[in-house]
Amino acid sequence: MDNELISLGSKAGSQQKYGRTYKIEIENLSAWFGTKQVLKDINMKIRANAITAIIGPSGCGKSTLIRCLNRMHELVPSAKVSGKVFLDGIDIYSKNVDPVVVRRKVGMVFQKPNPFPTMSIYDNVAAGLKLNGIRDRKVLDKLVRRSLEQAWLWDEVKDDLDKPGSSLSGGQQQRLCIARALAVEPEVLLLDEPTSALDPIAASKIEQLIVSLKRDYTIVIVTHNMQQAARVADYTAFLYLGKLIEYDETSRIFSNPKEELTENYIAGRFG
């Protein structure tokens, strides 16, 4: 069954057809930097075609958690992971799964916009496609345009496609990064505090964009901004000191949390 993850066939649209309610299932996930344990035995199931927010005070391990979902955590030299993460029922940490393939299926957008500064806007979006061997200019043109449209950037940049990515404003750069991630047609999109480096107007545009994307993608967003979680997320997980304290529908977490810790955090009593 691992073949599914190892193969790299075009699977556009498969996420819609997939009948599974849970796209990602996390089982007993723990993570370390050196000897410091940053995630403690996390169990959670993430629904397909929904937005799941992960909130919690800084240092609670929320970034580490999503970096475990596309095997980016292990890139830090001293980092260690144990436990299982199932993507469509396949454990991405099992021996014969290649992290490169996982990352191709699970896209990521980072806190600070990180376009490739020496590449043009076009090449930024096309970068991942070219890796996958798409060289035909017509196909590239079509996919680049589609991704930029999906990221609500096309109208702003369609005449400047050969300008460097670094020439855009912060909010535009972040949408360029989203377009770049979408271009390779991932099934899951991980967003690590995607608006924290942006001004409120640019941030709000990105929020709306994220909501518009959930029809086609499973989205996990890390945020330290509770209003943001309340606005965009269908489900919210509260992480504290590396432990998953509470995980439920967003409305329930915010209106009627079960745990006192969650309640205190949401009420702004710490964090």
Partner: protein, 307 residues
């Protein structure tokens, strides 16, 4: 003036000595080479220091310098880049420490010892493993013509390649390590393999710094004297024109080293050699400034950056 100011101005004056020196250097070189400076000096190919029929044309040595440096760059820079990539992106920590140390030792070996090794050891490697096969199979190409001897332009270029490796690789490594991790992460998150991460996220970002490192290597190759002098075969005049890699040649630096002590002070010979020094000075200064500019821009060192 307070003692603090006195202290500061004295230090400032002393640190200005190097600036003064560089300034004086160009002035003196220019003054002494004035009698020979002309277009004929730069574009001439004959070299005759005999009083009465004196003629000084340095084109063959300029070309010799450029050709040997070009070989050094073409061979040395890719190797250095490979080393830099290995050290910055692939090597485990302890290997990185040891290897950087070893490569710094390579930089510490004096030029004259490279020359000695080149003259008695390396030249035979070049002759037997590179030149003989090339001249056997590719002799129809002009640059591979001539009897392989080992004391020639190719050997000089290759020994320069070895000598620029420490400089180019350590500067490129620094440039690569200055690439923010967010660039690597961006590439990883697209499903890139290690090499693709290096290509997309690291090399494209660090391009101009690597060019700077290469130019710094070029600067070193152009001015390098002893090792080249000992292996290049020291041809003179039209014979020194680098028409084949298997021919004895001469660079500007090696010409100065070979002839300076034999120059008759009453002739223009010393002036001609100083003129060669002036050309070398201008070349080295230009190349160095360019390299500093490119490297600093990428390392974003605020102090000392050329604005």
């Amino acid at each position: 003036m307070s003692p603090d100011d006195v202290f500061k101005y004295i230090l400032g004056f002393i640190s200005g000595i190097v600036v003064l020196t560089l300034f004086l250097m160009v002035l003196e070189l220019f003054r002494y080479s004035l009698p020979v400076l002309s277009l004929k000096f730069i574009f001439g190919i004959n070299w005759n220091p005999v009083v009465g029929s004196e003629e000084y044309g340095i084109l063959p040595y300029i070309l010799g310098t450029l050709v040997t440096s070009a070989i050094a760059i073409f061979v040395g820079v890719p190797i250095s880049l490979g080393i830099a990539i290995y050290l910055s992106e692939m090597a485990p920590n302890f290997i990185r420490t040891i290897l950087s140390f070893v490569i710094e030792l390579l930089a510490a070996v004096p030029s004259v010892i490279y020359g000695l090794w080149g003259l008695f050891i390396f030249r035979f490697w070049v002759r037997d493993f590179i030149e003989v096969p090339l001249s056997k199979h590719l002799a129809f190409i002009p640059i591979f013509q001539g009897e392989p001897f080992g004391l020639d332009i190719l050997t000089a270029g290759l020994i320069l390649a070895i000598m620029i490796i420490p400089t180019v690789s350590s500067v490129s490594r620094e440039v690569l390590m200055a690439v923010p991790d967010s660039q690597r992460e961006a590439a990883y998150s697209l499903g890139a393999t290690k090499w693709e991460v290096i290509r997309l996220g690291v090399l494209s970002y660090a391009k101009s710094g690597i060019v700077g490192a290469a130019i710094l290597g070029l600067g070193r190759a152009i001015g390098e004297t002893m090792a080249v002098t000992m292996v290049i075969g020291n041809a003179i005049g039209p014979a020194a024109l680098p028409t084949s890699l298997f021919k004895a040649g001469q660079t500007m630096a090696s010409l100065i080293a070979n002839e300076f002590n034999e120059a008759d002070p009453t002739s223009l010979h010393p002036n001609a050699l100083i003129g060669v020094g002036l050309i070398l000075f201008v070349l080295a200064l230009t190349i160095n400034l360019l390299a500093q500019l490119l490297i600093w821009r990428i390392l974003k060192i605020k102090e000392g950056a050329v604005e």
